[in-house]
Amino acid sequence: MLELRNLSFEVPTQERSQETKRIIDDLSLTIEDDRFTVITGPNGGGKSTLAKLIMGVEQPSAGQILFDGTDITHLPIAERAKLGIGYGFQQPARFKGMKVKKLLDLAAGKKLPMLACNEYLAKVGLCSASYLTREVDKSLSGGEMKRIEIATILARDPKLAIYDEPEAGIDLWSFDRLTETFRDIHSARNGRSIVIISHQERIIQLADDIVWIKDGRIEAQGAADVIMPQLGFLAKDHPICTLTQPTELHLTEIPTTC
């Protein structure tokens, strides 16, 4: 179980400035085991920042983070990873010279058999084993990179997995495969929780709980069937993000033959 207590994150308004602005504003949230939670809300609302605070990539200015009852507010990133928190970045890092296979091995914390690697790739719609020997560098397309990022989290299999806009840049066919994967993980219900940051209606539909974040605060929260009908209304409040027009779902020329 993850508990965020009165979490705040402030950054200086300008470099070396004394003035600060709040990106996350006194936010409290509990995510129970076995739950599938979607965090949504307008661009710049603070969703990725919240995920980075949970993973330890950013340090909160105030508040507490508890994971399974342990205070992890000041734990380094790697320690949180070892406790079972995983984060799939919105903008994945690229590595010159590193093979996809190696990245999956590092994620799993052991040398994976080829078969297992292929399964992870298939789960994100990358159906060719030849991806394993590709380098995780600029030669991968945006959508391929994004799916490999997701595959690292699948290989890691954390107790709490946070995926940051997994649908971004991914073609329709792979997207179908991906939603199926999330549904499978969720239906196993073996104490794992999934948090997905998303603007995509079809992902939001999979959720048990929905959290709507705007200006660093939770504007609405609750069971999916209660919040879903309100989303249109909430979105109208903020003209730049309308759920009926997903911003980043488009077709790319990635071969998908399975």
Binding site: A81, K82, G97, T152
Partner: protein
């Protein structure tokens, strides 16, 4: 053939040429300025040079799938070993040449090896050349390697050269020159890691003389500690050719890297491109690996290993 190799010799040989025991086929192992052991094969003849110290390696036309090993090791402090090796690679060959120099210096005096290698690649020959340089030893004496590599490529020949300096070389000045005839193709990959107060300079000059010739120069380097590196690759296009130079360096601590990739076109049909990038390890790479449970040091080590792989 049997020779006595000390554990130090064996370790050096495995670092630079991945040999354990005696290799198969043709080989020439040089230790402390002397021939240690040599073996010619049916298609590959190794002979002592008449004029200079060094060897002539003559590979019969049409030889396919064979490997020659010519490692050099230096374990004696205070020695300056200069050696000339010439490779005559016959028409239509397809061979691998494994060279390298390992220095173990446990004293105060300097050890130096300057290998001058010349490759004459015959028509349509395919050559893969792998060279590793490595230094070790607790002595304060410098470990110096100043290799010169000359490559002459005839029509349609194809050469892949992988030049690596792994660790422990105090100072190096590398000179690589190539002349490419019609349709010849050269891929030159250089990987360098310097640390502490080491210095490395790499000069390259590739002349694309024939139509349809092409070269790809890839330089990957890591500079740590107080070390400094300078890259000076120059590609000259004198025909309808293609050349690509790419220098990529990771800089750490107080190190310094200078990259001056140059291209010179003397034909309007020449297409030449160069790129250079120097920077520290990207923060997002380290953070990603930390989210997979690695410490900062472990993450750095993995990133560097793959960058130079």
């Amino acid at each position: 053939m049997t020779v006595d190799l000390s554990p130090i010799d064996q370790n050096l040989l495995s670092e630079i040429a991945s040999i354990h025991g005696m290799p198969e086929g043709a080989y020439n192992i040089r230790k402390d300025g002397q021939l240690l052991v040599r073996n010619s094969s049916a298609n590959i003849e190794i002979a002592t040079k008449a004029d200079n110290p060094g060897i002539d390696i003559t590979i019969k036309p049409g030889t396919k799938g064979e490997t020659v090993y010519i490692p050099v090791i230096l374990t004696q402090s205070g020695l300056k070993d200069v050696v000339y090796n010439s490779f005559y690679i016959g028409e239509g060959c397809d061979v691998t040449i494994i060279a390298g120099c390992g220095i173990h210096n446990s004293c105060e005096e300097d050890s130096e090896h300057d290998g001058i290698h010349s490759f004459y690649c015959g028509k349509d020959a395919r050559v893969r050349y792998i060279e590793k340089h490595y230094g070790e030893g607790e002595g304060t004496g410098e470990r110096i390697l100043n290799p010169v590599t000359n490559v002459y490529m005839e029509k349609g020949s194809h050469c892949e050269m992988e030049l690596t300096q792994i660790r422990g070389v105090t100072s190096t000045v590398r000179d690589t020159n190539a002349e490419l005839g019609e349709g010849a193709k050269l891929v030159l990959t250089e990987k360098l890691l310097t640390h502490d107060d080491q210095t490395a300079t790499s000069n390259m000059k590739v002349a694309l003389q024939g139509d349809e010739s092409s070269v790809q120069v890839v330089s990957r380097s890591v500079a740590q500690g107080n070390s400094s590196q300078t890259f000076n690759p120059l590609v000259i296009g004198q025909a309808a050719c293609r050349g690509h130079v790419q220098c990529d360096a990771i800089i750490m601590d107080k190190a310094r890297v200078t990259a001056i990739p140059g291209i010179e076109a003397a034909s309007e049909e020449a297409v030449l491109v160069h790129e250079a990038a120097i920077g520290k390890i990207a923060g997002d790479q380290i953070i990603k690996l930390m989210t997979l449970g690695l410490s900062e040091e472990e993450a750095e080590a993995e990133i560097l290993e793959d960058f130079l792989s």
